[in-house]
Every structure is written in structure tokens, then in C-alpha cells.
């Protein structure tokens, strides 16, 4: 339960930290730390406009996406506490829950009948399908290395296997999770949420037609998803056995660090060319294969 609450707290600050980092890096005064949260409050006060083309799917999709993210949050452990739902293979459910949200985002975009949104939908569907193997290879690597197949147990045993090389795959794991989070949340270098042209957007163009309450739900879902991946990264950095209060502080620090990394990346790196994206994403799977090979060597299967 503590993990759930912490993710929610982290999600409050997350987008604000990204914004602050970007404005400081570009030498602007920029909006305050809580501007994204204020934006959501404004959205919640507003009414809604629905396109006459759209129907039921468009209306329920944001709620489905948010519900899927919330359910995925319930599967993540914190410190030595088990997650609310923890069982063998829970990461399969984690991945497929998030995929359920994506499914609805994609068909909601098609529901508007706009060619812009169709384009975004097609791209998003393609990129998220390409990133799926990277996630599964990484988790398979962890499963093989620790001998367990549940988030809670894997992370509990991650640092106490008596292996001196733990740093290697910790670093590979952190790098991959950051990159996967970028792809899943549609950030630079795969997608730029602040781009000005519909033709070059991926995720933003899919939610062009949303307003008011539904748009607020979508934003909340996005912020939670950031903190969700931040939480995965945290579990690869801090051993589960440490004092829980210390860990709560560290958790927020890691999340802030993750947000700053995203902010800096977006300040100093341009978005990929659209047709370079598949190569970029498939490279992640290749790196995950490397992690897997490293584990094969460490477990003396490959000498």
C-alpha cells in the first residue's frame, strides 16, 4: 500500500519537475512546479466538447486507460512490503494491463475519424508493439537470474544473491527501463509532446479531440505512468532491505532524478526522425539481449 501512495505522491511532482528542468535549462523563468496539477484542476472545472463523429469508445477510453494504469500500480512492490497483488508472473499482467489501456487509446483516436489521429494511432500501435519484447527480455533476464517470477520477490532478491556483478545488470536494467518509459510515455527521443505540428506528433495527436474531464483523466494517467516506471527503476537501485522511512525519501529522490533526466534529455536532444524510431526501439531489445547474455555468462551457462 505504501508503494501505491508513494507513486501517487511522486506523480504530483513529476511533470512539474520536468517542466522546471526544461525551463531552467533553456534559461526561461518558466511555470511553477505545480503548474501541471493546476492545469488538471482547470480542466476538471471545464465543460466538454465531443465530436459528432465519436461515440461510446471515445467516451470510455480515458477511464479505461486510467483504470488500467491504477491496476498496474497495484502490482508494484515497495521496500520489503509485497505489492497488493503479488503472484508468480505478475509482470505479465502488468504489461498486458498497460496494453489494454493502449488498445483503448488507439481505437478512441480512430473513433474521431480524423486522419491526423489515425496517423498517431497507427504510429503509437506500431511503436508500443516494438517495445514489448525489450520489456519481456529484461524481465526474463531478472527471472533467470533470481529464479523468481514475481515483481516483489525478484526485487527482494535482486541485491542479496551474493553476486558481485549486480551493478552491471542494474545499470543495464535502469537504462532500459528509462528508455522503455520514454517510448511508452511518448517522450523524446521517440516523440515530442511539445512539437507544434500535428503531422509530427504521435501521442499528442491522438488526444487532440479530448477536452475537460476526459483530458484530465488522460493527463493523470500519463503522470501516474511516469511514476510507475520510476518505481520500477527505483527497485533496481535501492536494496529492498533498507529502512523503510529512509527508502520513502530515497524513492522520491529517485523519482525526481528520473524526472530531471527526462527534462535534460528533452532540452538537449532532438526527436528522432519518424522513420528512425523503429530502429531505435528495436535497439532496446538488442540491448536487453546483451543483458541476457551477461546473465548467461554469470550463471556459467555460456563460458
Amino acid at each position: 500500500m505504501a508503494g501505491f501512495v508513494l507513486i501517487v505522491i511522486a506523480a504530483f511532482f513529476f511533470p512539474g519537475i520536468i517542466l522546471r528542468t526544461k525551463s531552467i535549462a533553456s534559461g526561461r523563468k518558466g511555470p511553477g512546479l505545480f503548474q501541471p496539477v493546476k492545469d488538471i484542476i482547470v480542466l476538471l472545472k471545464k465543460g466538454s466538447v465531443f465530436s459528432t463523429t465519436t461515440g461510446l469508445i471515445f467516451q470510455i477510453a480515458p477511464a479505461v486507460t486510467l483504470a488500467s494504469v491504477i491496476c498496474a500500480m497495484l502490482l508494484l512492490p515497495f521496500a520489503e512490503q509485497k505489492a497488493l497483488f503479488s503472484f508468480e508472473g505478475d509482470f505479465v499482467l502488468f504489461a498486458y494491463m498497460l496494453a489494454l489501456g493502449k488498445f483503448f487509446t488507439v481505437i478512441a483516436a480512430l473513433d474521431t475519424g480524423s486522419s491526423f489521429e489515425g496517423m498517431g494511432a497507427s504510429r503509437e500501435a506500431l511503436f508500443s508493439l516494438l517495445v514489448e519484447p525489450a520489456f519481456f527480455i529484461l524481465l526474463a533476464t531478472f527471472a533467470m537470474f533470481t529464479g523468481y517470477t514475481s515483481f516483489s520477490v525478484i526485487f527482494n532478491h535482486f541485491f542479496i544473491t551474493g553476486n558481485d556483478y549486480v551493478m552491471i545488470y542494474s545499470i543495464i536494467g535502469i537504462y532500459l527501463f528509462i528508455q522503455i518509459a520514454m517510448v511508452e510515455n511518448s517522450r523524446v527521443p521517440v516523440d515530442d509532446p511539445k512539437t507544434h505540428l500535428e503531422l509530427t506528433m504521435i501521442h499528442e495527436v491522438m488526444i487532440l479531440d479530448y477536452s475537460g474531464f476526459d483530458k484530465a483523466l488522460i493527463h493523470i494517467g500519463t503522470y501516474l505512468k511516469f511514476a510507475l516506471y520510476g518505481s520500477l527503476i527505483y527497485n533496481l537501485i535501492v536494496p529492498a532491505g533498507w529502512n523503510i522511512f529512509l527508502q520513502a525519501g530515497l524513492f522520491l529522490a529517485v523519482q525526481a532524478f528520473f524526472a530531471i533526466v527526462i527534462g535534460l534529455t528533452e532540452s538537449f536532444r532532438a526527436r528522432n526522425k519518424m522513420n528512425k524510431n523503429p530502429k531505435f526501439i528495436l535497439t532496446l531489445s538488442a540491448i536487453a539481449w546483451i543483458a541476457f547474455t551477461v546473465i548467461l555468462i554469470l550463471t556459467y551457462k555460456l563460458v
Binding site: 466538447v49 483516436a109 551457462k301
Partner: protein
């Protein structure tokens, strides 16, 4: 035994279908089917819930001249239930689907149709119950013939007749392999039953005979590269028949493979690896080709190949588990495969029934001409959506449960595996996760383009919801899907029992208990998801009721006067994927580029289509070569009687010569 006599009566009562007046034919068929389904389901449920291993039902078949015993074990009982559910729902759906044909087709056509439908059902039941080789081949043949008659229901269209004949030929190629396999067994052991197959396996090499059986059964099941009949026959058949064929008939191939696997004694590891690799190729290639299709039923046919791949992957893992003495892997693999088989029979038949409803309403199967159907046929759209979510393996629907079991088998076996096995299993994990992602791509495209947005053609504008009679049977299927999705332990436990009994897995109680408790957590999670969603939606409704809600046009970047033709199409949705997958899929397009000196471009057309490379390489090319050869030989066909007499003379001379030389 009273029950067997009753079964016989049902069998022979299928004949009067021909003599019953028009409108009653359907009800007569339905009544017969309901009787038979009840009877056989009762047998199966009795067996599955009881403690007995086998149920033997004696039955006389005069033609074979000997007593054939229908044997029902747990594996057969499982298949009987799968068959009964889909076949019954299919017939219920058929009433509405066939209604528009009543005027245009002769009554005899309907008699043949219903008769074949009954016999397809009966032959499938007997396929899973008969152990004797010769009788098995006979009912296997009946199955092929009756499904052939069902496929060519619309035989006024020449292409359908052609497809049907091609289907029949490919089925017989498959049968040839099975026949040869049985003959080899007969030669070695003197008898021709599945028991004899086990005997053969105990003192011969296992793999060659298995591969013979596998090839024969795989043609029925639709493993790549033996799938070529599938994407042709499914679109040609009426939708309830495609649903039954794709939902259960192709599973008879899987049944055959399982039956042979049960008998196998050695070479298990290699066999498992072969099955796993072929299945993974089928899964990934099947769904990749499905993405390229614009014909809704063709798309579903390719997706069937994908799902057969997933089922096969489960079975392959199970065999590997047996070979490596890893009971957890064996249990999870086989159970995942079997459960996915059940799941697929549900959601794929649902999707085929839906595509039939769409075809009836919009008179087209091309998704490029659909669009906006959700507004016009909301119930069908929701049903299609549920089918799509389930087939993508998304929680909280049934597809997730079976894919989860297969994933678990893979992940659990990773830590103890050797180098090559680790790499193989990791490859399968990558394959399965790719299949999941590709399926989402495929079905967001199919659902989104066909049902959402604005209508893309006149046909789609005039589409209306189909009758209630066609929709209610589909609700039954959805109910099964939801039960398996939200209460998976209820279904998985019996499936575990079947696997344990059939494949003799050691120490099963503890393991299956642990996995069932995992599934219970997944079910609760599904419940949490539903509750969260409903809460959000209820609050959303309340929230919106207090605020101003307007409607307007879709944001068009300042240009909202567009037509429906400006929407993203199915082809454009798949464009970027197509670009990526070109080396594998070999799509081709025909268009003339705009030349530089062409100031006012004239009207031009653009055609793109993707070939099935396996069909091209395995069937079209050899056939072209062969017919080319035959054409060259046709020089001898001069039409002059003198020449023919000469041929006969030469032939007799040759025979005489050979006889003198003691060669023949």
C-alpha cells in the same frame, strides 16, 4: 446400452432432413443437434467430474464389418465439450444468417447444408472418440467431405466452387500423410489403432513417424507453411460455417497431434523443439499477414493461424517439459495450450459470427468500405470489441489466462535450463510478446477502421443492426468468455486435471494448487479493474451532468469540410508496419508515378496487395511448373486415331519386352 442406441438413432435421423418441408428443416436439424449435444455433453461431464478414466461406448458399424468402440477419455471429453458449444451456437446463429438466402436458393441446397452441418458435427465427435485407425480415417474423410459441402454453399460464384475444390484437395493431401503413417504402424505391429501407434513407438525411432503424423494433422490445423487452404476457405464459407471450421474443426488437427504425442516414448526433446519453432513461426507470420488483409474474414483466418501457433507453442513447451523431466513446464505448457484452444474456439467463432453480421448488413467484407458501423449496429460492434480484446490476450478476458499460463511455463523453466534451452525459451518469450503486440495492432486496425469513424461507402451508410436472433447466441459465447476471464480457477482446474491424467505428470497436486491460487489473484485483479472502471465512469457521468457538454466537428486543423474519404484507411494504418515488414511479407503495389512534365496530373489508380509467400512458393510455383510440363507432354495428344493406336502398340511392345527380360 441405451445411450449408444440413442446415439445411433440421432445418426440415422439426419437423413430425413431431405424430406422435410422448407421452413421446418432448420428446426428439425436444431432438435436433432440439441439431443445429440445433450447426450454427448452428459457423457463428457460425467467423465470429467467422476473418477473413472474411460467411458467405452460400443457401436456397430456394418460397413467396417467389425465392432468399433467409441472410447471417451478425459482428453476426448474436453474436445467433445469444445465441439458441442461452438457447433450449437453456430447453428443458432445460422437461422438469422441464412434467412436472406431462403428466397434465392433451392430447398435442396438447404437440405444438403443442414445435412452436412450435422455430419460435420458427428464426424468431429467421432474423430475424438474413435481409436481404431481405419475407422478414424473414415470419419476424418467424412469430416473433410461434409465441410467441403458447407464451404461451397454459395457455389453460384465460381470462385467459391474453385476454393472449395482446392480445399478438398489439400485436405486429402493431409489425409494421405496420416494414412501412410497408419500403414507404417500397421506393417510393424499388425494393427492400425492409436494403441498400436504406442506399441510402434516403444520399439522404433519416434521422430520420423511423428513428423508424418504431424504433417498430416498440421495441414488441418493450419500450421505455417501448411496453412494455405485456410485463408481461402474461411472467407468463402458462410459465416457460421467459418466460425465452426475455425473454432473447432481445425482443432481436430491439434487433437490428432496430442493423441500421437500421448503415445510417444522417446525423441521427446527434439519433437518439442520442432513443434515450438514451427508454432512460433506460425504465430508471428500469421498475425503479420493478418495485419495486411483488408477482407475481414481473411484477416480472421490469418489470425486463426496465429492462434494455432500459440496453442502449438503451449504444446511444444509441454513436450519439452516432459523431455526435461520438468513437471511444472509440462503442466503449464499443455494446460496453456488446451485452454487457449478452448478460448480460441470461443472468441474466434464470435468474431466470425460478427463478421457475418457485418457482411449481411453492409454487403461487403472489405473493411476499407466500412466505417462508422458502431453507430449503426452498436450491439454487433460491442461484441466484436469483446472478441478483439479477448483475442489480443488482454485482461480481464479469457485470452489472457491461457497466454499467461504459457508465459509462466516459459519463465519458470528459464532458471534451470541449459544454454541452448535458455536461448530457445527466451526466443519464444520474444515471439509470444511480439505476437501480443502485433495482435493489438491487427485488431485495433480491424475494429477501428470497420466500426469507428465515418462510413466510407454507401454500403456502410445503409447498414442496419442484424436481428436479435443472430445476436443472442453470441451473448452466450460472450458469457463463456467472461466466465473464463473473471473466474479462471473454475475452468483451469479441470484443464489441469485433464493434462495430469492424459500425460501422466508427477507430483501434480501441489503445483496445480499454486498456479490456481495465482489465477485467483488474477481474477480478483480483473474484478478490481472492472470496479475501478465502473466507478470512474459513474463519476464521469455525474461530473459531466453538472457541466456544459457541447458537440461539434472533429478537429481538422482548421479545415473541417473534409469528406469521409479523407479518414485514415486500413491500408494507411498498416503502412508504417508494412514498410518495416516488407522483407518478410512481400507486398507489392501498382501505381504510376507523377512525371515531372505532367502539369495537370490525370486521374490515376493505386493498388496494393500482399501475397502469401508460402502459398506462392509451395503451391503456385510447383503447380505452374507441373502444368507447364503437362502442356509439353500434350504434344502427344494429336486427336488422330492412328497416333493413339500407335501409342497402344508401343505400350504393348514395351510390356512384352519387359516381360521377356524378366523385369516385370
Amino acid at each position: 446400452m441405451l445411450s449408444a442406441i440413442f446415439f445411433l438413432i440421432v445418426l440415422f435421423l439426419s437423413l430425413p432432413v431431405f424430406f422435410i418441408p422448407g421452413s421446418l428443416k432448420y428446426y428439425y436439424t436444431l432438435a436433432l443437434l440439441v439431443c445429440g449435444v445433450t447426450l454427448t455433453s452428459v457423457w463428457s461431464v460425467q467423465l470429467l467430474t467422476g473418477s473413472e478414466q474411460l467411458l467405452e461406448i460400443p457401436l456397430f458399424v456394418p460397413a467396417a464389418g467389425s465392432v468399433v468402440i467409441l472410447v471417451l477419455d478425459r482428453l476426448s471429453a474436453f474436445f467433445v465439450i469444445v465441439i458441442n458449444v461452438t457447433v450449437l451456437i453456430g447453428l443458432l446463429y445460422a437461422r438469422g444468417y441464412l434467412a436472406p438466402y431462403y428466397q434465392s436458393k433451392k430447398s435442396l441446397r438447404f437440405s444438403i447444408h443442414y445435412f452436412s452441418y450435422l455430419w460435420l458435427w458427428l464426424s468431429m465427435l467421432m474423430v475424438v472418440m474413435i481409436r481404431d485407425g481405419l475407422s478414424f480415417l473414415i470419419v476424418w474423410e467424412i469430416m473433410a467431405l461434409s465441410s467441403f459441402f458447407l464451404v461451397i454453399f454459395d457455389a453460384e460464384e465460381r470462385t467459391i466452387l474453385k476454393t472449395g475444390i482446392s480445399y478438398l484437395i489439400q485436405m486429402h493431401v493431409g489425409m494421405f500423410f496420416i494414412l501412410v503413417a497408419f500403414l507404417i504402424v500397421e506393417k510393424a505391429t499388425g494393427s492400425m489403432s492409436f494403441d498400436a501407434v504406442g506399441e510402434y513407438f516403444s520399439n522404433h525411432r519416434n521422430l520420423p513417424l511423428f513428423l508424418l503424423f504431424f504433417t498430416g494433422f498440421a495441414i488441418k490445423a493450419g500450421f505455417i507453411p501448411l496453412h494455405t487452404w485456410l485463408p481461402e476457405a474461411h472467407p468463402a464459407a458462410p459465416s457460421h460455417v467459418s466460425g465452426v471450421m475455425s473454432g473447432v474443426m481445425i482443432k481436430m488437427g491439434i487433437y490428432g497431434i496430442l493423441r500421437v504425442l500421448v503415445a510417444m516414448q522417446s525423441d521427446l526433446l527434439l519433437t518439442g523443439i520442432v513443434i515450438l519453432i514451427i508454432s512460433m513461426i506460425s504465430g508471428v507470420m500469421g498475425v503479420m499477414m493478418a495485419i495486411m488483409q483488408n477482407d475481414l474474414k481473411r484477416l480472421l483466418a490469418y489470425s486463426t493461424i496465429e492462434n494455432v501457433g500459440i496453442i502449438g507453442a503451449g504444446i511444444g513447451l509441454g513436450v519439452i517439459g516432459q523431455a526435461l523431466n520438468n513437471p511444472a513446464l509440462a503442466l503449464l505448457g499443455f494446460a496453456g495450450g488446451l485452454l487457449h484452444l478452448l478460448n480460441h474456439s470461443l472468441f474466434k467463432s464470435l468474431l466470425f459470427f460478427n463478421s457475418g453480421s457485418v457482411y449481411q448488413a453492409a454487403h461487403t467484407r472489405n473493411i476499407e468500405q466500412m466505417g462508422g458501423l458502431m453507430k449503426r449496429m452498436p450491439r454487433t460492434a460491442i461484441l466484436f470489441l469483446i472478441g478483439s480484446l479477448a483475442i489480443c490476450g488482454l485482461p480481464p478476458f479469457n485470452g489472457f489466462v491461457s497466454e499467461y499460463l504459457i508465459y509462466m511455463g516459459m519463465f519458470n523453466s528459464l532458471s534451470g535450463a541449459t544454454l541452448y534451452h535458455s536461448i530457445l525459451i527466451l526466443g519464444s518469450i520474444v515471439g509470444l510478446s511480439l505476437i501480443g503486440g502485433l495482435a493489438i495492432f491487427c485488431f485495433t486496425r480491424a475494429f477501428g477502421i470497420a466500426f469507428l469513424g465515418e462510413p466510407r461507402s454507401e454500403k456502410a451508410i445503409h447498414a442496419r443492426e442484424v436481428t436479435r436472433g443472430m445476436i443472442i447466441p453470441q451473448y452466450v459465447t460472450v458469457a463463456f468468455i467472461m466466465i473464463i476471464g473473471l473466474a479462471s480457477p473454475l475452468v483451469v482446474k479441470p484443464v489441469f486435471d485433464i493434462v495430469v491424467q492424459t500425460f501422466g505428470i508427477h507430483n501434480p497436486v501441489m503445483m496445480s494448487g499454486a498456479f490456481v491460487s495465482n489465477l485467483a489473484q488474477i481474477s480478483i485483479m480483473g474484478g478490481v479493474f472492472v470496479v475501478t472502471l465502473v466507478t470512474l465512469l459513474v463519476y464521469r457521468r455525474y461530473h459531466l451532468s453538472k457541466r456544459m457538454v457541447e458537440s461539434g466537428p472533429t478537429w481538422g486543423c482548421g479545415y473541417t469540410a473534409g469528406t469521409a474519404r479523407q479518414q485514415y484507411t486500413a491500408t494507411s494504418f498498416a503502412y508504417n508496419f508494412n514498410h518495416l515488414a516488407k522483407p518478410v511479407l512481400q507486398t507489392s503495389k501498382v501505381m504510376d508515378e507523377i512525371r515531372e512534365d505532367e502539369i495537370f496530373p490525370r486521374k490515376r489508380t493505386f493498388v496494393s496487395h500482399s501475397d502469401d509467400i508460402f502459398k506462392k512458393m509451395l503451391i503456385d510455383k510447383p503447380l505452374d511448373w507441373f502444368s507447364g510440363l503437362l502442356k509439353r507432354i500434350a504434344v502427344m495428344q494429336t486427336g488422330q486415331i492412328q497416333h493413339y493406336i500407335l501409342y497402344a502398340f508401343v505400350f504393348m511392345l514395351l510390356v512384352l519386352l519387359l516381360a521377356i527380360l524378366n523385369i516385370i
